[in-house]
């Protein structure tokens, strides 16, 4: 009951001075909105690709009806057909297409043409064409081999059977977890965790403020155990953190179209992330001598952890020491948790990141609590 009384007073004070509202809700929501608008500008567009094929050759048919049709259907390319190579070259020069492929009338040659600024599109088209050619070659070689061996199956029937036969080599998507989160969610989660490490300070920092304004001796002279005072401050941080993260998750989902993933998994991630943030600020308060010093230290810690953890850009991709350091931060594991939750995966897919966050909480929070206990004295 006493803890709740202390908690209510502190929360009321935080609401009154609005600083927690600004740092926990308004500022991150504003930044998320702005950054979301930036990343949701021009989306990846279909790559215009040209094709010259008579349509009568096996290679031309395989290419047009196979991989190129598939890529067009999924919106990766937009296929333009041209009568001959010169028409395709003209289209390339005009920028009408980024790359193109010419199937020789005899069906025995493929020619890939690239636009001046379309190296990637050209390379992809070349890979797709090469792959198709290999498949067509394989069928042709099988037909020839069967004839040489005296087989009686008509070539067309044999080719159809070969194409229809199950593949002997399986291609397996070996990616652990999901394939990634969309830019809006990335921005929302990054900003939310970044500001989380600022907003949670308003609870535990209250210990030093109570000492500064002289109210701590009065609290400790009342029938209140020191642990109750400390617990109330930790709870204030926890509540502010949970409210901030939940609000930003809902805000970015409903208003900006972010996809955080399974609600149960996200709730688990938010709780673990907030606990890690509270542990961090507890350690800072345990070390600091004054509210000002604690606030300054927390700002530095939040900034360093945010940068290392990928709140702005991924340090993990940099490799080496930067990647290792990134994996030591709660921000990295929070983002990793969301990545694993994408694609409709359930909460169990986030267990590893949650465990990492809880481990961080224990490693940082236990010494933090021991040090912060020293602050609960007159």
């Amino acid at each position: 009951m006493i803890v709740l009384t202390l908690l209510a007073r502190d929360l009321r004070a935080r609401l009154r001075d609005r600083s927690a509202l600004v740092l926990g809700l308004i500022a991150p929501a504003a930044l998320i909105t702005i950054l979301s608008l930036l990343v949701s500008g021009p989306q990846t567009q279909e790559v215009p690709v040209g094709l010259v094929s008579s349509g009568t050759t096996a290679l031309g048919t395989a290419l047009a009806e196979g991989p190129l049709a598939g890529l067009e259907e999924e919106g990766t390319i937009r296929l333009h057909r041209y009568a001959d190579e010169s028409a395709l070259r003209a289209a390339l020069e005009d920028g009408e297409v980024d790359a193109g492929v010419v199937v020789a009338p005899e069906g025995d040659r493929l020619q890939v043409l690239r636009g001046p600024d379309s190296i990637v599109a050209g390379a992809i088209l070349e890979a797709v064409s090469r792959s198709t050619a290999l498949t067509v070659d394989g069928v042709g070689q099988a037909v020839v081999a069967q004839q040489e061996l005296g087989g009686s199956t008509p070539p067309q029937q044999l080719a159809t059977a070969i194409v229809a036969a199950p593949a002997t080599t399986r291609l397996v998507d070996a990616t652990q977890g999901a394939t990634g989160i969309d830019p809006k969610t990335q921005v929302a989660a990054g900003m939310a965790t970044f500001f989380l490490f600022f907003s949670v300070q308003f609870g535990v920092l209250g210990l030093l403020q109570e000492r500064r304004q002289g109210t701590l001796p009065r609290l400790l002279a009342a029938p209140i155990a020191p642990w109750q005072v400390l617990a109330s401050k930790l709870l204030v941080s926890l509540v502010i953190g949970l409210v901030s993260m939940t609000f930003l998750a809902l805000f970015s989902t409903w208003l900006l179209g972010a996809h955080w993933g399974s609600p149960a998994g996200v709730a688990m991630m938010i709780l673990a992330g907030v606990l890690a943030a509270v542990a961090t600020v507890t350690l800072v308060v345990g070390v600091a001598k004054s509210p000002e010093q604690a606030a300054a230290m927390q700002a530095v810690v939040a900034l360093v952890l945010g940068i290392l953890g990928g709140a702005f850009f991924s340090m993990a991709r940099a490799g080496g020491v930067a990647a290792f350091a990134s994996r030591l931060t709660p921000h990295y594991w929070f983002n990793e948790g969301l990545v694993r939750l994408t694609g409709g995966r359930d909460w169990t897919s986030a267990l590893v990141p949650v465990t990492a966050l809880l481990l961080f909480t224990v490693v940082v929070g236990v010494p933090g609590l021991l040090l912060a206990r020293r602050s609960v004295r007159p």
Binding site: I2, Q213, T215, A221, P223, I224, R377
Partner: protein, 314 residues
């Protein structure tokens, strides 16, 4: 004899090489206002911190109404009301909200809390300003609210640690009146100060503390007797002061007689109230006309000076 409200026995506390409190023992009776008088740095606040359970003593014990007070235990805390030397209020809350919060810490809620808050606001004269934020109060008003927060839960022992430091004379007077009223209401009060006049005005008994030690303890009369201080009577006559002095010399209870100037004599007597009438009669018999009489009882100032060898320093 009723059980003392506060019993302090052999209390000691050191900070490194500094012996802040050294074997301090005293008692406060029910309804008594007891003063701890000493200069800054004498160990008063350290003593109070140990009495409130905020600080662990190196040795000794504290009990309030028989309940031992220990750091880490909340036993007996509700018996104590603590008014720290520094303001212990939330400046962003109103006076009433501050009191409501502190009342809840002691389990006082609802209508009883509202009634009690109204009472203490009236006692400290802040009813009119109860809805204003504390940060808008004057220093004296903040001090009075600080006291109100300490006595809100009707403690058996109210501890006031130098509650009048740094405020204007008018506010100080208001605070002293409030404290005097508390003493009259039957609450035991432990009052620390380095102002002699406050101790003399409020406290039935006074403990003189310096360098962490309780040098003397008792009523003013007992302390004066302890240091063999005497009442001083200065008599101004219409005639010759030397003749008047001669007339008074040798009177019973008159310890010394001296001439101050050509119209005044000074007598040191054991008890002025018992001797004064006889002195005036003796002068009249000797033909002297008494124009003026001034009686000065020994002050705690002179007692402090006698006991510590120094004047009370700030």
């Amino acid at each position: 004899m009723p059980e003392p409200t506060l019993v302090v026995t052999g209390l000691s506390k050191s900070f490194g090489d500094l012996r802040a409190v050294d074997d301090l023992s005293f008692e406060v009776a029910p309804g008594e206002t007891f003063g701890l008088l000493g200069p800054n740095g004498a160990g008063k606040t350290t003593t109070i911190s140990m009495i409130c359970g905020l600080l662990s003593p190196d040795a000794g014990s504290v009990s309030v109404e028989g309940v031992p007070i220990r750091p880490g235990s909340t036993d007996g805390r509700e018996l104590i009301g603590y008014v720290p030397q520094e303001l212990a209020l939330y400046p962003d809350l109103s006076g009433r909200d501050n009191l409501t919060f502190f009342a809840r810490l002691y389990g006082l809620r609802g209508a009883p809390a509202r009634e009690r808050i109204a009472e203490v606001l009236e006692t400290v004269g802040l009813t009119e300003r109860a809805a204003d934020k504390v940060e808008e109060y004057s220093g004296g008003m903040q001090r009075r609210l600080n006291i109100a927060a300490g006595m809100l839960h009707r403690p058996r022992l109210l501890i006031l640690d130098e509650p009048t430091v740094g405020i204007d004379p008018q506010s100080r007077n208001a605070i002293l009146e409030s404290v005097a009223a508390l003493g009259e209401s039957g609450m035991s009060v432990l009052y620390t100060t380095h102002y002699m006049e406050e101790a003399e005005r409020l406290c039935r008994r006074v403990g003189i503390v310096d360098h962490g030690r309780l040098l003397a303890c008792g009523t003013r009369r007992e302390l004066v007797a302890l240091v063999e201080q005497h009442d001083q009577v200065v008599i101004t006559v219409a005639g010759d002061a030397t003749a008047a002095a001669a007339a008074l010399a040798g009177e019973p209870d008159v310890l010394t007689v001296s001439v101050v100037d050509d119209r005044s004599v000074r007598c040191m007597v054991t008890t002025a109230s018992a001797t004064l009438a006889r002195l005036i009669t003796r002068l009249a018999d000797a033909g002297a006309v008494v124009r003026d009489v001034q009686v000065t009882e020994p002050s705690l100032d002179s007692v402090f000076l006698h006991i510590t060898g120094t004047a009370l320093r700030d």
